[in-house]
């Protein structure tokens, strides 16, 4: 395998750029190193022919790994919060055993989060809500949403930005 098409070789080749990005993105050099390591593991089995633009590809995977980690940390924090709330409640031993089984707990947490997001989306300003729902929830492209609502693509982008701003405010604890 020549160095131009070997995933590990490519990670090494762009190491400095990727580290700079990861340090800026995480604000933590140790975490950036961890993610770079994970990036190497994750891309090890990528068939070289499948990836056209290595640099952009590695940045994209690194970017997604950071987002995955933030999501996982969020879920962990929510779980811990719930546990500490439960610890203050009164429960019989059997109830406790059933309710705190990891599977059930995660399922409840997922339902709660989904319901919270759904209600925040339902409460968006009308135009932003329709655009957000069509694009993010029902999976239509910006072009399809624009055609469906008879607005321009930049109108769709503006509505999306308004939706994100509102959601951020509504979901802030």
């Amino acid at each position: 395998m020549n160095p131009e098409s070997d995933p590990a070789g490519m990670v090494a080749h762009f190491r400095a750029d990727l580290m700079r990005f990861l340090v800026a993105r995480t604000g933590d050099r140790d975490e950036a190193e961890d993610i770079l390591q994970e990036l190497w593991v994750r891309t090890r089995d990528v068939k070289p022919a499948a990836v056209e633009h290595w640099r952009a590809y590695l940045f994209r995977v690194a970017h997604n790994l950071v987002i995955d980690r933030r999501r996982a940390a969020q879920r962990r924090a929510a779980r811990e919060r719930r546990w500490s709330e439960e610890a203050h409640g009164v429960m019989s031993p059997t109830e406790e055993a059933a309710d705190t089984a990891p599977g059930a707990d995660d399922a409840i947490a997922a339902r709660e989060e989904a319901a919270r997001l759904a209600s925040a989306i339902a409460n968006l300003p009308e135009g932003a809500r329709r655009v957000f729902q069509l694009h993010k929830i029902e999976g239509h492209s910006h072009g399809e949403v624009a055609a469906h609502l008879g607005i321009s693509k930049s109108g769709v982008e503006k509505h999306m930005a308004v939706a994100m701003k509102h959601l951020r405010r509504m979901l802030a604890d």
Partner: protein, 311 residues
């Protein structure tokens, strides 16, 4: 919050949008992050809301009334054809393009233990597995697998391209036989005949030939492995064939055939299973899997949790 923070959030939203594109400028994004540590916090907030919405998209879709009015509850004459033929392969004929390209999407769904065939005007045939849903765009060239599994038989026509979206993947096809399975936190795309092109979000692009299967979670690098053409969409022959699949994936499939949730102790979710399960009426799948894989069946109301056997 002062105006600086509001600007920052707007910039973060603009970056989030820009980074979704193929030609994302990662160096300028890095420079923006380096300009002020608060930019990173703003970006984290926006990206985590977006990721949370993506993670719960199916549930949110089920909660919110549809914006396109194309939900399964929408009364339709075409529905009546398939509805009475549970567990049989009913043929549903999609309407040809009558009006404008913005014709509303039509959604086809199946109930647990029901399969259904959908024929599109251009000759494409789609077999829908149990408890699955696809939406077919008005122009009949844009299909979304919303949940479950489907098998596509697309007649060869180089002048037209069919696009199927599932999870974070878009499959482009000008004439092949292939299947898509979603559930258990991943998407599997398997080709029985011909070649499809799979793009992942705005990232990698994979050309997938007959006898190959791509498995991924929509993020990171997908895995490509061989699959016997006869095993592609084996559910059409009443069998579920697994080769090194995670138990989470097997449980997700069984849930669709039983119609009640089957989950796996998270400690075992990544344990691998290889083997064949006979679907039958769906009721024996749990006990068959449990005995083959050596699992304990824990019933909690109508939910079933598969756990490890105490040693």
């Amino acid at each position: 919050m002062d105006n600086g923070d509001i600007d920052r959030i707007e910039e973060a939203i603009a970056w989030h949008h820009a980074l979704a594109r193929d030609d994302a400028d990662w160096d300028r994004f890095t420079a923006w992050l380096e300009a002020d540590p608060a930019n990173r916090t703003a970006y984290d907030e926006i990206a985590s809301i977006d990721a949370a919405v993506d993670a719960h998209r199916d549930t949110i879709l089920a909660i919110l009334p549809s914006e396109t009015g194309a939900r399964e509850s929408r009364p339709s004459r075409r529905w009546a054809l398939g509805a009475g033929v549970a567990a049989a392969l009913a043929l549903v004929v999609g309407i040809p393009l009558l009006h404008t390209p913005q014709e509303k999407a039509v959604i086809y769904t199946t109930r647990p233990a029901e399969t259904k065939a959908v024929a599109l005007a251009d000759g494409t045939r789609i077999a829908l597995s149990a408890d699955s849903a696809i939406s077919v765009g008005g122009n009949q060239r844009e299909i979304t697998l919303q949940r479950g599994a489907a098998y596509f038989d697309v007649p060869h026509d180089p002048t037209r391209q069919l696009s199927v979206t599932a999870g974070g993947y878009r499959i482009m096809d000008i004439g092949t036989h292939f299947s898509i399975d979603s559930g258990g936190g991943r998407v599997a795309i398997a080709v029985a005949d011909g070649t499809v092109t799979v793009t992942q979000g705005t990232g990698g692009r994979t050309v997938l030939a007959a006898g190959r299967r791509l498995i991924g979670n929509g993020e990171g690098a997908p895995m490509v492995s061989p699959i016997a053409s006869a095993d592609v969409a084996s559910w059409r022959q009443g069998r579920l064939v697994y080769d090194n699949a995670s138990l989470a994936v097997v449980a997700a499939d069984i849930s669709r055939y039983r119609g009640t949730p089957v989950s796996v102790d998270p400690a075992l979710a990544e344990r691998r299973f290889s083997g064949v399960l006979v679907i039958g009426d769906g009721t024996r799948l749990v006990s068959d899997l449990a005995s083959v894989a050596g699992l304990r069946v824990d019933r909690r109301g109508d939910r079933i949790v598969l756990g490890g056997k105490p040693s």
